[in-house]
Point group: C2
Chain length 210, copies 2
Amino acid sequence: MAETTRQRQKRQTRERILEAARTLMAGGRGLDSLGLREVARESGLAATSLYNHFPDMDALGLALIDSCCFRLRSAMEYERRSMIEIGPARAVKELVGRFVRYLNDYENDFRLLVQQRLGSHDRYRMRIQRELQLLVDELAEDVRQAVAAQGREPVPAEQEAEAAIAIMFGAGISMLDNTTSARRVLADHACLQLEMMALGGRMMAQGMRL
Amino acid sequence: MAETTRQRQKRQTRERILEAARTLMAGGRGLDSLGLREVARESGLAATSLYNHFPDMDALGLALIDSCCFRLRSAMEYERRSMIEIGPARAVKELVGRFVRYLNDYENDFRLLVQQRLGSHDRYRMRIQRELQLLVDELAEDVRQAVAAQGREPVPAEQEAEAAIAIMFGAGISMLDNTTSARRVLADHACLQLEMMALGGRMMAQGMRL
DNA sequence: TCTTTCAGCTAACACTTGTTTGTCAAAGAT
DNA sequence: ATCTTTGACAAACAAGTGTTAGCTGAAAGA
């Protein structure tokens, strides 16, 4: 069943609306602060036309967040096997590199996600929390497999992954206010921090404590 | 020179306005979303009276952020010497404990800070970034002293501190959506993560790599 | 070809917003 | 006791908000 002209145009318009919202938020503006009419103006539509695509403003926001989650997941997806084979040091570099590329491409997405993670809207918050938890889970699984490959004792992989995401996101937030060249050194710092983390995890798995 | 009646009342009213703004944000609302008239209503004043205390809405926001920064610094302040003497494992517990207490007392402050760290207002952002950098610097200094006390090689203390703050703030964000009892286990996780970090830092200082 | 569907439009509603202007009464100063 | 300062106020302004009702014209289906 092929897509009719009407369906295609509607889909395109919907995309145009979301893109307009993204454009308006480009300057760092929060999702809360932008209004329906403003988005309509930016997308070259009458204000009321937006109701043909979203039942209300909240639905638009949720759609925006959903697409941000999707793009984050897509950007951070990778092939498990290759990550494990290249060893931990290079795996860290690959992970951070992937994240930096995501940040360069979808800077405003990231801003939106981090902002709304603490927003007032419960639905938004939970959607994002869930997405981030998935990221942590996937990373934890990798850590577990890497551990198993080396025949080590079970290690709190979940904790290591959680900390790793926190470190990366922290670095990401700092990067937002820096130029591309300054971001590289921040990325290096993040790599170093992740290596420390992984090293500590390995030691801890061997029963060593502070 | 004692405070006159006029000065005292003005100060109190100003405080009342800021408190009203805090109350309005209690539900998780963003700073951008609350309006002057709304704040005026909440504080039992006419809208125009706010102009006797703040030149415009931005100034009010900045005052609010400033007070949040002050309270964060106050809450996280401690006596350097005692932290070093009790050893790393207990120092981590003490640090996290202090942070959890801050979070329980000033949950909305924390939310505001993290939100506005990525906000549109440059002045707000920079004020917060500076405050957080101070936190990192202080912690880094502690790490350096602890390292020196053990006669270890110089270690990237700054990186260790930065990662530690990122981990703690990440945990803090998760705590916001959890009950007090659930926060305790999140705090334990944060402790474990910080210990891993510190352990990794120690190993790395001895020249070990991944 | 005729009919139905529906994305997009204009007009309007009932608010809310930040800010300016001018008035008033209490506090401070002389 | 008189004069000045000033914090709080109501009224008004121009512009903005989300949302509803009703119309129009073109595409889709019969």
